[in-house]
Structure formats: C-alpha cells, structure tokens
C-alpha cells in the first residue's frame, strides 16, 4: 500500500511529461494496468468502487450502470461509461479528483473503505490519455444545484494538474423525463480488451453485487447484452467511522514516525489523542512503565518528537506489552488472591523462579546458608513480593535449618522454590481497551445470503458473520457463506468468492490466506468431495469469504491475495467449520426428507391404487387402508412448511405431526424462529410459550394412531427469503421423522449461552479494564479477571438459525 503511495507521490511531483508516462509505464502493474484485459477491469473497478464509496458516505442507495462499447475494435479501443446516483462532485473539485494524483478525501483515516489512495480514478484518466490521447468526459450534479456540470479532463503530467476543457452547464434529464438529483457520469476511451470468464468485468461486478446487496448494478457489455443485479435490501451498510491506530499494532519504526509527525504538544496528549484504546488511566501507566516520568512520577512534559531513541524504544515495548507492572497480591484465608492496590511496580516480565532450571538452583543453594537465600532468589527473578520472601526464609529455616546446606537440603529447597513457593506477584501489561469495532462494516449474514441467492440460483445457502476480533491492534471480522445445490457444476472445484473490505479479489486465489482457510478444512466429513482431504473441495457449491478489517495485509501491491495472519486464518477456519456443519445438517435433512417423501408417496398414491386395482380385478370391495398404512409408516412424522405469503408480506409456517404408529403418543413440539433478527410471531393460534429467545414450544394433545395435529403461525417483520426453513424439535418418547429430539441438557446449555450473550455483550473485558480502582489504598476485594487474550472472546451468536445447531454439535 505504501509503495503505491510512494509511486503516486513521485508521480505527483514535478516531472517531465516524457518521464511521467515512462514512470506510469514502468509501474503500471502496481496500478493494475499491466495487460489490456486487466486494464479494463481495473478501470471499471476504480470507478465502481468510488461510486459505492461515495454513495455509502452520502447514505444513498447506489444505482450504478456500467457500459462498455467497442470504439475501434480493430485497435482494441474501448469506451467505458460508468454512471452513479451518488452525491456527485462539486464543480471546483472535479478537476482535482480526476486530474490530480493523491487528491482523495481519506488517506489518513484508518477505517474500512474501498478506496484509500487517491490514485484510483486519476490513474484511469492517465491510462486513457496515454493509450488513446483522449480526455475523460465527466458530468456531475450535486443535489444543491439545479444543473449538472460537464467537462473534458486531461492531465498535465508536468505539473500534476488537470487540464479541463469544454466546460458547460447542462440540465440532466433522465430517460423517464425526470431530472437527476445528483450523480456522476464518467466516460473514457482506452486501449483495452474485453473478455469473459473467471477474471472479467462481469465476474467483478457479479462479486461486487454479492457483497453490496444494497446496490443495484446494471452492466451492458460490448455485444449489447445487459445484466442486471438488483438491489435486495434497502439497508445501507452501517456507517463506518474512522479510528486511530491501536498501540498493539504499532512497531518501533511506526511509533517513531508518529512521534515525529504529531501535532500533540506533549507525551500525554500524544498517547491520549493519537491512539485508540488508551484511556486516561493508561496514559499515566504507559509513561510510568516506560520510565518516561519526572521525579514526581508525572509523565514527561516533553514533545513526542523530542524523545530519544531509547525512550521511544521503551514506549514501543510498553505498547507491545513487553514492559508492564509487577503486581503483588496476598492470599485470603480461602487461598484466593487479593490484589494489593497501588503496590505494583513497573518491570519486565522476567520469568518466575518456577521456570528456573533445577540444576542451576541446586548449584547456587548447595553450600549456601539462610542469609544467602534472598540474594539467590532476587538475583534470579523480579517476580516476588517482599512479604513472600520473608515467609520463604522462615519456612526454609524451620525445615532445613540455617545452613550451610548439603546437596540433599539444597535439592529440597530448590524443589520448594520451583513448585510450592508462591511469589505473590504477577506481570501485567498496561491494560488497554480494545479498539472500537464500529469502524468495521460487515455485510451481515442475512444480506450475504440475499446477495448469494440473487447471483447464484441454488437451494441451500448458509452464512455466518463471526464476532469482530482484533489482531495486533487491528479490528477485523470474518464473514462466510456457502451456497449448495443443483445448477452448479458437481465435478469441479467449488467456486471461491474472496473479498477484502467488500472488494472482490479475483486473482492469485492459490496464494491467498482466505483460500488457505478453506483448504484447511476436511470437507469430506461435511459432504463435499475433496481428493486427499485437502485443497479446495469439489462439488456443486460456492464458498464466500469476506475479511473486513481496518488493515488488510496483502501479499503484494496488486492487492489480490491476503497475506497470512494466524489469528485471522483461524477465525476464517472456524467460520468454515461452522459452514460445513450447516451443510452436513442440510444434506442429512435432505436425505431424510427424501425418504419420508417416498413413504408419503407410497401411502398417498401407490397404496390406494393397489387397493383399488386389486379390488377391481377381483370384483370385491375396496379394502380400508388404515392398518396397512400404520404398518408401512410405523413412525410419527413431522412436516414443516415455511413459505412467503405475498399478500400479507409475512412468512407463514405450518408444522404438522401425524401419528402413524399403533400406539397413542403425546408430544411437545418446539420450533426455532428468527426472534433475534427482529421477527414478530403472529397468528399463533395454538398458543404455547417461549422456551427461550428464538425457540417456541407447544404442548400437543395426545395423538391416537392415525391422528394428526397442525400448528400454524406467521412471522412479521421479515423480507422474502429471510426465513425459508424452520427447524422442528420435539419432546416425548420414540422417534419423530422430520424433527430432532430436544434434549433438555442441551436446552439448559442454550439458555446459559443466551444469558451470556444477552447479559453483557463482550463489554465484560473492557469494563474490567476501564473500571479498575485507581483510588486509595483499599485492597480490592475481587481479583480482576486475568488479562484476556484479545480476540479470543466468546463468539457472538450468529443468528438463531445457526445457534441451535452449532451448539448441539460443539466445536470441531
């Protein structure tokens, strides 16, 4: 990323025309213009990304049209036109946006956005100019003006300034006669090649539409063929806010740069205002443990830029948790730790004596006496509290005398030190808050589902958004989706759809960490083919992975493959396992369903036909079937139908239970429903009660042989396709085909999970950190939670649908 900026910076400087085009030529692969084919995709990508970014910022539902025309087929000259309904660009900025490198609105902010450089669209203008000599035509209208402004833009590569011409004001009337409120239309002519296939404009747009379900995208290819990917939700992506860097992700060099560049007047202000996750308390602590305090223990008042290299290094070590506090505690009568407030001291986490080698300790202790004991211990570790040392001396003295000790005694003392002695001190890094995670904009399960369903026509879709996590100070979030079913090739590798911050990654699939996460799962156990149990699985499926992060690390400047990062890969892998479980469950259910369906066909169609035909041939009466049916089915069968009712705009659910056995049976039926997703249950005539959030229960009357019961209800507040399958459970004896047995131990576990989730959602940790008593010397009665590894928190539930099953099967 920085390299691209460097290139741009150098390009933006005063250069001679010849050399700037040379320079572009030399570095065009970084900018995505290395082949005629790729150049076109890049140009589309820059324009579309900008349109999506601008709409998102202006909170407008995007309508984007992309048209590619062959301007001169013999010479591979292509005309590209992209139009959006975004906010438009004010007249005075147009020339800068299109004709000046590095004119972007957001290169300092850390947050998840598509464009980050301020090179994108200018690169397209430059490429067009260099390959065809033609300027780029722009039409822009902002809502506050009545007319649009039009102009042709070229680049003066000498001065990094735009050359504009033919500027005029025009009314912008749409096809339907109405006036356009706001938007941008860009047309340029470039040397490029249009292709179809896995790496194509079409594929880029298709993928873009999957992860931007709120966008309506229309594409007209050079043959005039139109593809329209409709908007499937009115919900705009969550507004993202910029965040400052988090200390955990900062290296020495970066800290150095930040310290030199900051506007903060002193160290405290620097720490407090230039970073995220640093509460006031932590500012003081960081200075203290870094040794950046004056005689009174107050943070140095020096300008950050003035810190010497040693001081910067110390601060960086504090950032990374290498420096921190040694914190004493005492034991209460039950043996639990009570931390002694304000009795901590800065230090490095030297290894506790328990980690020392037995032989070394033995050598030191042999021939030594009780007076040497403290010296021996303190020379080897900082991890002790005076009180515990005094106790140690007493204990050793009474057990082994004052010494000098022989080998045998030394051996016993060494063992005591390593195993039994409690040094009453722990190391703690300065506690920081997690970086805020609202800087991420996940697409969210339901919308991924919709996005996938609209571009791939298949039956089964499962999606999952993992809870946000943090890796070296960078918040990130993994989202995955899997679509399975007919209509996709069964004997080739599944389609992998990779995205980073909603941007499709189309190249270098093999080298991408997201692909590796898919490959690390043994898909065979989930019902997909995978020769040898590794590699991308085969089967009629597509797998989507989206990494949302404030800092996506790519393997190269081309930004096509995500670089490896263990925490992120592990998150992605876990998500894949959950998808796999969903798939397996689906396949099992499908199989069972097919079997039940067959039996139903048997008793509803075939058996009556046999009875009628045999009676007709023999000229006898048609026999009653009830007995045979019971014998053939010999089961209780649950059937569920979840459907969308167009008229009422509700999802209707019908669950029926029929007793095909020879005995009377009684059951409680349970069903899951998307309560957490905001659905409201209506028309539930059977009553029943909530078993827990998202699970409803109905006690049924006893069913005699051949009897059935039906439960119906409707769900309000959902859109079509949000809820297509209801899971049915039962409580009662025997097996029910078409429903799973509700195990009460499982239910209790679900409830417990629910309490955790709805009780104090993931703030636990932050609160513990922030509200630590700093006041007077009152010993805190409760030991604070030990420092938790960031990112290792309990995963938030992933919607009611998954929840029920995920927990039944446990973590793989």
């Amino acid at each position: 990323m920085t390299e691209k900026r460097d290139i741009a910076t150098r390009m933006a400087g005063n250069q001679k025309q010849a050399s700037i085009s040379e320079f572009f030529e030399k570095n065009k692969h970084f900018l995505g213009f290395d082949s005629l084919h790729r150049s076109l995709i890049t140009a589309v990508k820059e324009a579309v990304d900008n349109a999506l970014d601008a709409c998102e910022e202006a909170r407008i539902l995007p309508d984007i049209r992309i048209e590619i025309r062959k301007a001169d087929p013999r010479r591979d000259i292509i005309e590209l036109e992209v139009e959006d309904n975004g906010p438009g660009i004010p007249r005075d900025s147009i020339a800068k946006v299109f004709g000046q490198l590095l004119f972007g609105s957001r290169f300092h902010a850390i947050r998840q956005s598509r464009g980050q450089q301020g090179i994108g669209i200018t690169g397209v203008v430059m490429y067009s100019q260099l390959t065809t000599g033609k300027p780029t035509h722009v039409r822009s209208k902002i809502a506050s003006e009545t007319t649009a402004v039009e102009m042709d833009l070229g680049l003066d590569t000498k001065s990094n300034k735009a050359i504009k011409s033919k500027e005029q004001r025009v009314p912008w009337v749409l096809e339907d006669g109405t006036e356009k409120v706001s938007g941008l239309n860009v047309q340029c002519r470039m040397k490029a090649k249009f292709q179809r296939g896995k790496q194509s404009v079409w594929q880029y747009l298709r993928m873009t539409s999957i992860v931007n379900p709120h966008a309506s995208i229309t594409f007209v290819d050079p043959d005039g063929e139109r593809t329209h990917w409709p908007r499937v939700t009115e919900r705009l992506p969550r507004k993202v806010s910029a965040i400052k860097p988090h200390p955990h992700g900062i290296e020495l060099g970066q800290l150095n740069r930040l310290a030199k560049a900051t506007k903060a007047a002193n160290l405290s202000i620097f720490l407090k205002t230039d970073f995220s996750g640093v509460p006031g308390r932590a500012v003081k602590e960081m200075c203290e443990v870094s040794g950046l305090v004056d005689a009174k223990g107050q943070p140095l008042k020096s300008r950050p830029g003035r810190l010497d290299p040693e001081q910067i290094r110390a601060l960086a070590e504090t950032f990374q948790g290498i420096r921190g506090y040694l914190r004493p505690y005492r034991l209460d009568h039950r043996g639990s730790r009570i931390y002694v407030a304000n009795a901590r001291r800065p230090g490095n986490p030297t290894a506790p004596i328990a980690n020392a080698k037995h032989g070394d300790l033995l050598d030191a202790l042999t021939g030594a006496s009780i007076d040497d004991l403290v010296g021996i211990v303190t020379a080897r570790t900082d991890m002790h509290w005076e009180e515990s040392l005094t106790e140690l001396v007493g204990a050793v003295g009474s057990a082994h005398g004052d010494g000098p000790w022989n080998k045998q005694a030394a051996d016993a003392i060494s063992k005591h030190l390593r195993k039994a002695w409690d040094p009453r001190i722990v190391f703690e890094a300065v506690k920081l808050l997690k970086p805020p995670i609202d800087c991420l904009s996940p697409i969210e399960e339901l919308l991924i589902k919709k996005g996938l369903s609209k571009t791939i026509d298949s039956r089964f879709v499962t999606t999952l958004t993992r809870a946000p996590a943090v890796s070296t100070g960078n918040p990130f979030q993994i989202e995955v989706g899997l679509i399975f079913g007919e209509g996709m090739a069964a004997d080739s590798a599944v389609e992998v759809l990779r995205f980073a911050n909603r941007v499709p990654l189309m190249y270098q699939q093999g080298g991408c960490m997201l692909t590796k996460a898919i490959e690390s799962v043994d898909w065979r156990q989930y019902g997909l083919d995978q020769p040898g149990g590794n590699g991308v699985p085969k089967g009629p499926a597509a797998i989507l992975v989206h990494l949302a992060s404030t800092n996506v690390q790519f393997t190269s400047e081309a930004k096509e493959a995500v670089a490896d990062n263990e925490e992120v890969r592990e998150e992605a892998r876990k998500a894949m396992l959950e998808l796999g479980r969903g798939l397996r469950k689906h396949l099992e259910k499908k199989k069972k369903l097919a079997k039940t369906q067959e039996k139903f066909e048997l008793i509803t169609d075939i058996l009556p036909a046999i009875a009628e035909k045999s009676a007709a041939i023999l000229d006898r009466e048609v026999p009653a079937l009830a007995g045979s049916i019971t014998r053939i089915m010999n089961a209780v069968i649950a059937q569920e139908e979840t459907a969308w009712d167009k008229e009422s705009k509700r999802t209707t659910v019908e669950i029926s239970l029929r007793n095909y056995t020879a005995k009377a049976r009684s059951y409680t039926l349970l069903a899951n429903w998307p309560q957490r997703e905001g659905a409201v249950m209506v028309d539930n005539e059977h009553g029943g009660r909530a078993e827990m959030t998202g699970v409803w229960a109905w006690k049924l009357e006893t069913l005699k042989p051949g009897e059935s019961a039906t439960i119906t209800f409707a769900l309000d507040g959902l859109e079509k396709g949000d809820w297509t399958e209801t899971d049915v459970f039962y409580r009662g004896a025997g097996d029910v085909i078409g429903a799973s047995k509700m195990d009460d131990a499982l239910l209790a576990e679900l409830r417990r999970q629910e309490d955790i989730i709805t009780g104090e959602p993931q703030e636990e940790e932050e609160e513990a950190m922030a509200d630590e008593p700093e006041g007077p010397e009152v010993p805190a009665e409760d030991s604070p939670a030990p420092p938790v590894d960031e990112g290792g928190g309990t995963p938030a539930p992933s919607g009611p649908k998954q929840t029920l099953f995920d927990y039944t099967e446990g973590e793989a």
Binding site: L602, I610, I617, G627, T630
Partner: protein, 366 residues
Amino acid sequence: MTDRTHSPEETKAALHDVVVEMYDRIVKGEPPTMTLPVRTKNNITFNKRLGVYKYGKSTSVRDATSLRSAKQLLRALHVVEFIEEMIDAGKSSTLREMYYISEGWGHGKFGSQNESNNLAEDLEVVTKCLREDFKLRPEEDGARIIGNITLQERNRRGEWMRINARDDVGDSGYGVPYNVESEKLELIEHDVDFIMAIETGGMFDRLIENGFDEDHRCALVHLKGQPARSTRRIMKRMSEEWDLPVVVFADCDPWSYRIHASIAYGAIKTAHISEYLATPTATYLGITADDIVAYDLPSDDLSKKDIEALNAELTDPRFQDPWWQEQINMMLELGKKAEQQSLAKYGLDFVTDTYLPEKLAELGLA
C-alpha cells in the same frame, strides 16, 4: 407339446391368485405382498428327472414397505388387468407395446422396457403360465437356420407352407418365428447328421460361404448372441424329434460359456420353463480355453468384468462339472479370451478345413 400352455381360464385364475395375495394382506391390515421364487444362480437346482436346471425352493417376498416394491406391485396389477383384457378380446401385444401402453397407467407406469420384461417374467414364474398364455410376444430376434432340413410353418393366412432351409431360402437362411410350437411350426424331415449353433454372424456366414453345411452334413443355427427363447426351443425340438446331436460353437469368453449353459442346462432367468427350452445333450465344441493355447490364437486380455463373470461362474451350479471348472480356471490363469474369428489367423479356410473337423472328430461327429 401343447400341454405347455394353459387355457384362458387357467391363466386368469393363476393371475388372480397373485391379486388375492395382495388384497388379503390389505384386508388384514398388513402391507400387500407378492411372493416369488428367488431368480438368481443361488436358487437353481438340477432336476434329475428333466435333466435341466430349475428354480429351487427359495422365495422372496416383495412387500409394499418401500416405494420401489410398492410400485412393482401396482405395476403387476396393471399387467394382470391388461392381460385379462387381451385374453377377453382375443388380442395379443408385444412386450414393447405393453411398455408403451403402461404410459397410461399413472403410478403403475414402467420406468424402462427392461422393467416390463422382468415383470412379465415374474408373473410367468409365479403363475407357472407362459407369456404365450399372457398373449405377450417377445421383441427378441429369432435365429436363422441354414441346412438341409425341411419344416412347415403356418403363414398369416393360416396355410401350411413347406420350407427347405437350404433350397428355399436366401443367404440369410430360414428365419425362426417367435412361436415355434406345433400349432405354428412342424418339423418335416432332414438329411443332416448334427446341428451346429454358432454365436456370431460373421462365423455363420463364413461357414456357409465355405459350404460347411453340405460338406459336413449339418444344419447351422445362428444364435445372435444370447439365444432367444424360440431359438432354444426349436433347437430342443430338432434335437428331440429328430434325435440329432447339437454342438455349440462360440467365442472363448465368459459370456459364451453362459450362452452354452442356457442352451444345454437352462437359463437362470427362464429356469421356470427350462424343460421346454434346454437341450441337455448339447455339447460345447469350442472355442475352449485350451484351444487358445493349442492353436496359438490371437487373444485379448480379460477385462475386470470378464474376470468377475468367470468367478461368478465358478460358483454357478450349472458349471460345477469338472470339465467346466477346468476351462474356467484355465481362462482365468491365461488371463486371455479369444473370438471365433481369431481362427482366421491361419487363413479363411482354416476353420472349415482344419479346426472344426479336428474338434468334431474329438466328439466322434466328423
């Protein structure tokens, strides 16, 4: 021989028994069933009195607890009804026609022609009637015969027509009709010493071109692969009524062995009527596995399927004879198979001048 067939009343009564079984089960509150002999090699036993293999005592019950078998039962009912209609109307139809007619049977419709053929056989087996009783005609291609034999066949006008299978026929020989019972066909006279059944058309034509039938005083029958019922039936009649030996000349592969077994001992699929179709005195002339070695014949490797078939034959009751066990094992050991026409390695006349005379001499027929 007309005692093979049953009267319309007998046939209907037998079919009704099948229906009654289903009906009664439903009345009893049980899933309907159809009981029939197991039709695999594990359930054929040698009948000493008849000298052929017949179905044994194992039966299987097809019951309507799975969709597949329930559909079979329903189909059976439709077929029964269809046969009754034909009997009453004095009509007949081909198996293929029945397959197409089943299109109108709703859930009882056949999935494939094979299914309808099998079901017709099932009913034959259960009712001990023949498909002639059912008024169902096969599609199967009858054989061709060339040689100095004379028979008479009733033509479509109902007149008897005398045919000599050497003088009154063209190169393709006398075409055997699907019904070869005495009401349709009579064996009049012959001037041959034996009957030779030949597997492939190419070899049949070669022998005719070389004048083998006249030189060696025999009738040649082209089997056309696995021989149709009528082919086996006419050979049986010629062998019994004229007291002529039958020899089988086939390729050397597991499938040819089975062709011979169906001619000599009875086919597994038609074991219910083996005594009408099998010619227990038929002898396998060649090509034998030892011929491959003895005549150094060009050969092909056995395929996986071939090997499976040979292994299955080792446990087939019809091949328990030591000579057959030896031939099968030899083929497995060689790992080779050979075609009849591989004899052409030594020239076009080798088969008629050398191979067959030598083989027939072994049997005392030359």
